[in-house]
Symmetry: D2
Subunit: 320 residues, 4 copies
């Protein structure tokens, strides 16, 4: 029987991780489980950086970005040696099961721990990139989209006032999710994502044609996985001889107070992860499909997610 | 064949209405329809307050709260006389179909127009109260929840610093939707909604017991349809003799720049409403279920929506 | 020689108090002083609720609203008995001087402690009402004004869309400062403050005349010290028979992350308060005049502040 | 006698320019002046892009970023030919005086027009860089600082969670104003500005020493005029072998809804500029010193501004 669980956050931080920690901890305590916080993700697990969590440990964090348990990248954990060490720490500290909060890379590690070492664990889908297979939304993506959108709105002020072309790079190494969302919500003129081929010639053709019709201000959103804003800007300037400005939004997209949606999702997933543990359902990831919680095998969740971009792309282009 | 459509917004304004107008107008123009804007909802329809809309008419409004077409309450429209007059105006101006953006009351009017007078029309689900039957989300509700949540976060600063009880009234005459969402997302200690009975005795019992354990700051969310914050405050003060502060969030919940989610929803619904018109599907309301657009007969959409509050309520109480 | 100081916050909380605490604590530690935090203002002083503060005690609080030292009202402190008890606690704990962060009421208490009991102390001007005599700005007022303004902007969306009259009550029991600032910055049509007589007849006359010229949306700002929004609304409705909406902003004006200006002011004042202690200058209040720090005798700072409203009022009316 | 004035915005846009336009226009109309808006700054003046402004032309813009009159850079205007052409356009359109809203470059142009061609004009100090000589604040700088600070707060979430060094580049080609403000308000560990020499060795020494004491998260603010974030990052990585992240805030600092302070300043300056014209005081710039409006000869305002950074820098370092 499960008596004591450990909780960790790993990989890139996402707004809402703290709300998930709060929910897991308190829901576990309510269900008479003992809870250990593990600092710095897998690195802290290996290094035995543990702390007992009580009800007060998670007070006043539901609205904070980042993660109070810290996070780290840990290459060592992807070796047999590292995983063996992790298992020893769990055993030594009588931790019966783990709640693991993170994205794709984090859950790949979790999957290895579950498959190779039979560690009972449940994952919470948490990544601003929203690239976990089988889910509509993961913790942090709604906040990241709104943060990027707020930046686009600000850039629109200057783009309209100065009648310039702006190329804005948003996060998304493997996914055009954030780019597509902010392009549609921000009324952007064009969007470049890894899921869809594009060529600079037709892009520049559109810009030049637009210019002839009097359309002089453009916002072009680029997912970092599709191209760098600097490269796109260079191509446009060379082909059109127009002046282009570059903005790379960068790490501001990871931070900030989580939106209502991310806090609610995180709170629901935190409780659900403990429910799974209480039902002895392991090697699972919990996330959102539509408005409903969904449980998926972690090894499925880490497979490549396909996102459909045609519908959004068509809307963006028609409405410009 | 439909050649010319009219667009109006009616009832309480909701953030995202402008994004819906923009999308309907441009999507219709793209499909070679002529578009008339109708000012002040049904009142403007009756008074023939029309304006031709072109691509530029809806520039730079995707991020603005309120509605550029204005809105009004119009009791006259709920008479036969009023509806007959509306039909005459449509005929006189060769308007073949209507896009109607609004909530429950607005769509009841639309349903009458469709059923009694055979006016071809499509409704867009748009209300911060999120009380249209058959949909998970309507335009404006995500923004309203985030606005209320931002206020709760601010109040939490004072509630924690001064160790006081705050009763905060949020919108929702018939629905506890906003109250439940912000209570869960804001880490509120208690929430009172029309969908769930409550008694002041057990509420005050909890507060007094909490006080004995050292819990001195409380935030209690009240949906306006459940009770007034003033009444709740009075009851608590009388029963517990503790000092209670009241905040009524009021109209700030209607305004503000729409969130990404509301802009995207509005943009999708705007285009979808025109698609329905092009397919001659009328007396329908389009909204969101999960992440998918859903078309429902307007007469069904205006029936009483039941929202499930037990799951959220249990979470709120367990996690406090 | 001063070796050990105590810091407390008292009265209504103001955004930036935490930044002031951080600055006082770290600046004092840097100057080799020992620092005690005193919880719950004068109440905690009397009850000896003390905690040793170190560099880490004030990490990550510069951007948080409220006060980590809590605050409370303490009628007992305004008795000889209470003050005597406070002096004993200071003596017993070897606290040589106090930094007191708060507004008018708080500093009246501080002045009594300094004058009657010769306690060495320095006050930091901190109140959203900005009603300390001799200063242009106090900690929290910039944030409060921006919070209220954000609410006004939201209300403007609905006021414009529905073409209604809104009466919005902002904080300021003795001062029209917040009201004047947000009225000018929000483009309000009228503002009622305690510093300026007004009569409902000429107000209603303006509204009716405006209506005849086609001006149908109004925002009227009321400082709570001038009238209640409910009363103003009732008068207008009775005299004009127009529909009027009421919003009372309330406690949201106290909370929220402080603006840059409030954090910088708080940081400067925190360090300056310790500098005064190091120079043995006591019974002083430090605040801002123009962009410069200013030191004033506390007994002068608590006298009634006169604010000039005519210039702002004329601008508001001319530009409407 | 002045009967008709022209208003233009030029150079980089700044939040609050629209509030200044609104105020100038309405205050001029109130004083029975005729008002022409000139599009695209000096370029539009040369190209005679004029529009008659009335009371309604500036409705609902007080809270909008950017400038409704657009802005442009115009090298041609810095030739005799260009200025001569500008004078002809003014004459042809009976424009007796100009209100010119912009920063250093804009006002250099204005000064030439006033000195060489005797055009009656008044300038409004408006630049996010706050680099006009003789003024404490210019329109837009308060908003830009708050926007940058909001980004720093977000980056702090990740910096703390991942325990990394972040180098954040803010605007300021010739001025460390924004950098100093956000460094103090954001609790940054280090700040590099053009006004103060720095060397990478002592910076890296501090970082490595901090690391030994357990200080693992750093935010280093860089004004673009001091160095590029990329360069600073490269130096730190080479010298310390630590992992460093780079964020360049870029154009988001120009946009967004203006703060209360910027709107109030803009409103005051707009009216004051018209007052100067009515008093036949020309070749002047109006801005803010302390809380008071100040009028300075434009040729003085464009001289190099010295800002004092030692006091802020010391505070930043002591409080870290």
């Amino acid at each position: 029987m499960i008596k004591k669980i450990g909780i960790l956050t790993s990989g890139g931080d996402a707004p809402g991780m703290n709300a998930a920690i709060r929910s897991s901890v308190r829901y576990a305590l309510y269900n008479k489980l003992e809870v250990m916080g593990i600092y710095r993700g897998y690195a802290g697990l290996i290094n035995e950086e543990l702390v007992q969590m009580n009800h007060r440990s998670v007070s006043n964090i539901i609205n904070l970005g980042g993660t109070i348990l810290k996070t780290a990248r840990c290459p060592e954990f992807f070796t047999d040696e590292g995983q063996k060490r992790a298992v020893e720490v769990l055993k030594k500290n009588n931790i019966d099961a783990l709640v693991i909060i993170g994205g794709n890379g984090t859950q790949s590690g979790a999957n290895a721990l579950a498959k190779n070492w039979h560690v009972p664990l449940v994952c919470i889908a948490s990544t601003i990139d929203n690239d976990l297979n089988g889910f509509d939304y993961t913790i942090g993506s709604d906040t990241a989209v709104n943060t990027a959108l707020d930046a686009i709105d600000k850039i629109r002020n200057t783009s309209t006032s100065m009648e310039r072309i702006f190329v804005v790079e948003v996060m998304g190494r493997n996914s055009g999710f954030i780019a597509m969302q902010v392009a549609l919500a921000g009324g952007a003129e064009e969007v470049l994502v890894p899921e869809r081929k594009f060529d600079y010639e037709s892009l520049c053709h559109d810009i030049v044609n637009g210019n002839l019709r009097g359309k002089v201000s453009w916002i072009i959103i680029v997912a970092e996985g599709a191209a760098s804003a600097a490269e796109v800007s260079k191509q446009i300037q060379e082909m059109t001889e127009l002046d282009v400005r570059v903005v790379t939004l960068g790490h501001i997209q990871r931070g900030g107070n989580p939106t209502a949606r991310d806090r609610i999702l995180a709170t629901r997933l935190g409780a659900a992860s403990v429910d799974l543990i209480l039902k002895n359902q392991f090697a699972k990831t919990v996330g959102l499909v539509g408005e409903d919680l969904k449980v998926i095998d972690t090894e499925v969740a880490i497979q490549k997610k396909k996102i459909e971009v045609d519908y959004f792309y068509k809307l963006i282009r028609v409405l410009t």
